[in-house]
């Protein structure tokens, strides 16, 4: 009996139902109609397949054919990923532009990697050696910042019978491996289904900080390499600016930035500024270590759902090479909304706020793909994958199901505050609301690399900020005059911590990035002012004099001291000590 060609029986927005889909599997990719729109199977009922289409479906109707590919939604992994800018299903945006102009039209089929471009392959192994999945057979200098390691794909092991140096494109064989008398070609290209986690040998606790150059984050609410963080806040509180800053300055080796359902102009900013910005450590353009997945809010909603997975799979692939990778997802709420929209069209029973009941398990699955790991391969290299997700709850209300489901799994919470943003205190991360569960993990690192005193200073400064909140409460009731001078000193110092330390201007050329070392020095000066003033106050020095010290103007400008001139801090410290005389 001849099998019938699958064809469409129903169209409702991005949801298409097709019949005669025997043999189709869940999450397989399909091509819809002769326009060859890209879709994915979401549900199977007998021989009916429910397909979410990643492109606009107007002009599609019943009776048109559906082509099965019998392959799940996958990404292409190999040299050429770095500096790329993709849409939600890994189509390079610049190629889409070449094909269809400034506006994205439909049914465009573009490979994720350039299959023509030649890369110079340096073998790392010789013929005759035994290899297993994850072993590095050779390298490619992908960009001056990234040495791309070519790994033996999963399910292939045996003896290398041939391996050669030279210029190859990603589909040409660079090595041949003999396994059970069969010869298998190794190319630089791997395909991997996005919804499936890439395997690792072992996971362990993250112990190193991922420094971001943002003082409030690195000092008070640090994230570890391999950790997870979320940054919820209402619109205008500075989520995206903070995410961009972290993407620019964090010391991860690879950044994967997923702009999921966000603004087109913001993506443009990212696309235009990253090639120009220099990595503070290497001096090379930041784009060379960055992969951008941009699916703006007006691009098809189903592709938005996929964009998060596309991003994380690319990140996992780099992690497997032994790199420290950071994924920024901005914003996971838009992804959750895409889930909700598709769930609604599938007529599933809704959970909270109309979100599907599986929302929290999907979110947990996503964040669980982070971690500090030992990668597959005999050299037991370690890699780290950190995830930072922005969440945009309606009205900034953190009781929103997406925020709550996220908070259950992430370890760091950067809570953005409307009030701070309104008084232009940026980053508007509320220090009383936020938390990080990595302080203990990172202790030893700080002790060994910065100074043990930093840990004490951090705690002390945090205590002052807490105290400030309760003192302000009292001051509001009874007036500031009725507080003791000790308490008023606390208020002064806390204000100094807020304005001189926590406040950071992303658009100031020096202030935009602060190294851990400088953060320590800055905090040290501020806290020294507190310690000295407290002692002098006890000795009976006039409060107004302490508050009015000229050197405080210098403290307020500590942030503008360039990284190359940290000796300045010692001078200011001395000046501070002398100024009480």
């Amino acid at each position: 009996m001849m099998t019938k060609q699958p064809n469409i029986i129903k169209v409702s927005g991005p949801l298409v139902v097709a019949k005669h889909c025997q043999g189709a599997k869940m999450y397989d990719m399909v091509r819809v109609s002769d326009k060859r729109l890209i879709g994915e199977i979401l549900e199977l009922k007998g021989e009916l397949a429910y397909i979410q289409v990643y492109e606009e479906t107007s002009g599609i109707g019943p009776g048109e054919p559906v082509y099965l590919t019998n392959e799940p939604l996958s990404v292409e992994l190999g040299p050429g990923l770095a500096s790329s800018i993709y849409d939600g299903i890994q189509r390079p945006l610049n190629l889409l532009r070449d094909k269809s102009g400034d506006f994205i039209s439909r049914g465009l089929d573009v490979a994720g990697l350039d299959h023509q471009r030649k890369w110079h392959f340096y073998p790392a192994l010789k013929a005759g050696e035994q290899v297993n999945p994850g072993d590095i057979v050779g390298t490619v200098d992908e960009t001056p910042l990234i040495k791309h390691k070519i790994m033996v794909p999963l399910g292939v092991s045996g003896e290398i019978v041939e391996i050669k140096e030279g210029d190859f494109n990603v589909t040409e064989s660079v090595a041949r491996i003999k396994h059970d008398a069969k010869i298998k070609d190794i190319t630089m290209l791997q395909r991997w289904p996005v919804r499936k986690e890439r395997p690792v040998k072992e996971k362990f606790a993250p112990l190193e900080p991922l420094t971001t150059g943002q003082r409030v984050i690195d000092t008070f609410f640090p994230i570890a390499k391999g950790g997870t963080a979320c940054i919820p806040g209402p619109f205008g509180a500075g989520k995206t600016v903070t995410m961009h800053e972290v993407a620019k300055w964090s010391d991860a080796q690879i950044i994967v930035y997923v702009a999921c359902g966000e603004r087109g102009n913001e993506c443009a900013d990212l696309l235009l500024s990253f090639p120009e910005l220099k990595d503070p450590r290497t001096g090379r353009p930041l784009l060379e270590r960055t992969v951008i997945v941009a699916n703006t809010s007006n691009m098809p909603v189903a592709a938005r759902e996929a964009s998060i997975y596309t991003g994380i799979t690319i990140a996992e692939y780099f992690r497997d090479m032994g790199y420290s990778v950071a994924v920024m997802a901005d914003s996971t709420s838009r992804w959750a909304e895409a889930l909700r929209e598709m769930s609604g069209r599938l007529e599933e029973m809704p959970g909270e706020e109309g979100y599907p009941a599986y929302l929290s398990s999907r979110i947990a699955e996503f964040y669980e793909r982070a971690g500090k790991v030992t990668c597959l391969g005999k050299d037991s290299r370690s890699g780290a994958l950190s995830i930072m997700g922005a969440v945009s709850p309606p009205g900034g209300d953190i009781s929103d199901p997406v925020v709550q489901a996220t908070l259950r799994v992430v370890k760091v919470f950067w809570g953005l505050d409307d009030k701070l943003a309104n008084s232009r205190h940026f980053p508007a991360i509320n220090w009383l609301l936020s938390y990080s569960l990595y302080h203990n993990n990172l202790r030893d690192f700080l002790k060994d690399n910065i100074c043990e005193e930093f840990i004490v200073l951090k705690r002390e400064a945090m205590r002052l900020l807490e105290e400030e909140a309760s003192l302000l409460e009292i001051a509001r009731l009874v007036g500031i005059e009725s507080l003791s001078f000790e308490d008023r000193l606390v208020l002064e110092v806390a204000k100094s911590i807020r304005e001189d330390f926590l406040h950071q201007n992303a658009f100031h050329e020096v202030d935009t990035y602060t190294s851990l070392k400088k953060q320590y020095l800055m905090l040290k000066v501020v806290m020294l002012y507190y310690a000295l003033s407290k002692a002098k106050l006890k000795e009976g020095v006039d409060f107004e004099k302490i508050v009015g010290l000229v050197v405080r103007e210098k403290i307020s400008r500590l942030k503008y001291i360039p990284e190359g001139n940290l000796g300045e801090f010692i001078k200011i410290e001395e000046e501070l000590r002398k100024s009480y005389a």
Binding site: E56, R97, N298
Partner: protein, 457 residues
């Protein structure tokens, strides 16, 4: 190929189910001829093998099941565009409403448009001087930005929007400039105010208006902004004009969307609005922007009224998540008789940083802006404190800030409806206010700007 069916099966609100259909496409345009001969239009919302669900644009009053004819036109809703669009007035469905002739199409464009490829976008960076201090000084607008006005019932958003449309210009340039105005569900009086404003100033010559009034079919509002934006895209990217699009009032648009969603019995999201409200609004707002290598631009100024002055209501909330900032109007300032009652603190322009500074406005603009924000915030805090404790309990510094806040509202925020302030004037007022504050308090301003501007009168 024209296909005509007599098989209307059911009608419910704006939705019509047509049976025994064949070879219908999703989103296709539909004409329904009522038994009294009237012809109304709609589009296909959902199709299965032998049924099509049609959403009528202009209501279903007078539609009967037996005698109506349904024609499927085989194309999606389109707008006929040509340079003659400029200077014309259309109704909410794109038909001439000024007794002028039909547009002879140079091109027919699908009103849904296609998304701009993010890698084709040029970053908006040209400062638009609106002549309004609270916008130019504190929340600067740039070409290609989408900046909504969040208003509420009874506030003068129409006057402000009209003032911006009248005064907006890019410094030192004289380029082809057009205004596309779409009214959705506003009253005759409000729309008349705009049209008169456009006529009186001669601006009508460079404007295209799409007017759907409160008593026009609500469903028609779904296409009104799309028509306007399609027209804007044509003017901006085909004819290289700079287009300012004003959409009033997005709240009515969203309510129409909710009406359709409810008629389709979809699972509602917050406050009964459909779950895809964000995506739907994004497909409108995101059509603003600039494209690399093209001189034209679309700047979008949607106006919406916040139900119960509530910023967290889904319409302003989702809008704020899509647009690049917002201008919020304050009832408190309005009550004090201050025009324009722009609430500076929660207002925001996200794209300001690339649009201001030396050679664009003035080198000290960004610092002054930050400092004014910080001082005004402190002043408002002091004002709250004074309410609780009495002014006497404030410290001397707090008293200064308190005075600053009042002066700021009185001389910086307040201006005449016809007053067009240059950016120099706006910054000058800013500095004259800042001089009342001790110099060491001005931490957001760089030393050399303080040296240059703080001392000089």
């Amino acid at each position: 190929m024209l296909r005509e069916y007599l098989t209307v099966e059911s009608v419910s609100g704006p939705l019509v189910v047509v049976g025994k259909t064949e070879n219908i496409k999703y989103a296709e345009l539909v004409e329904v001829e009522f038994s009294d001969g009237a012809v109304r239009r709609g589009k296909v919302l959902e199709i299965s093998e032998d049924k099509a669900l049609v959403q009528m644009f202009e209501g279903t009053l007078g539609l009967d099941v037996a005698g109506s004819k349904v024609r499927f036109l085989g194309r999606t809703q389109e707008l006929a565009v040509s340079p003659d669009l400029v200077g014309r007035i259309f109704d909410g469905a794109g038909r001439p409403a000024d007794k002028g002739p039909d547009i002879i199409a140079a091109k027919r464009l699908d009103i849904n448009g296609n998304p701009i490829n993010p890698s084709s976008r040029a970053y908006p960076s040209e400062f638009i001087q609106t002549g309004v201090s609270t916008i130019d000084g504190m929340n600067p607008l740039v070409r290609g930005q989408k900046l909504p006005i969040f208003s509420a019932a009874g506030l003068p958003h129409a006057r402000l929007a009209a003032q911006i449309a009248r005064q907006a210009k890019v410094l030192g340039k004289n380029e082809a400039f057009a205004v596309v105005f779409a009214a959705m569900g506003i009253t005759f009086e409000e729309s008349d105010f705009f049209i008169r404003g456009f006529r009186d100033t001669g601006a009508i010559e460079r404007s295209t208006l799409f007017i759907n009034l409160a008593n026009d079919p609500a469903i028609e509002r779904i296409s009104t902004p799309r028509l306007a934006l399609t027209c804007a895209e044509y003017l901006a990217f085909d004819l290289d004009m700079h287009v300012l699009v004003i959409l009033v009032d997005m709240t009515f648009y969203c309510e129409s969307l909710r009406e359709i969603s409810a008629a389709r019995k979809e699972i509602p999201g917050r406050r009964g609005y459909p779950g895809y409200l964000y995506t739907d609004l994004a497909t409108l707002y995101e059509r603003a922007g600039r494209i690399k290598g093209k001189p034209g631009s679309i700047t979008l100024l949607p106006v919406l009224t916040m139900p119960e002055d509530d910023k967290t209501h889904p319409i302003p909330d989702l809008t704020g998540y899509i647009t690049e900032g917002q201008i919020i109007l304050s009832r408190e300032l309005h009550r004090k008789g201050i025009y324009p009652p722009v609430d500076v603190l929660p207002s925001l322009s996200r794209l300001k940083d690339k649009g201001i500074g030396s050679q664009k406005t003035r080198e000290d603009h960004s610092d002054v802006l930050n400092q004014l924000f910080a001082c005004y915030a402190k002043g408002k805090e002091a004002r709250e404190l004074a309410v609780i404790l009495g002014e006497a309990a404030l410290s001397d510094l707090d008293k200064l800030y308190l005075k600053f806040a009042s002066n700021f509202e009185d001389s910086f925020v307040r201006q005449e409806e016809s007053e067009e302030r240059s950016i120099e004037e706006t910054l000058g007022i800013g500095w004259s206010l800042l001089r009342e504050i001790p110099r060491q308090e001005l931490k957001r301003i760089r030393e050399d700007y303080l040296n240059r501007y703080y001392a000089v009168e």
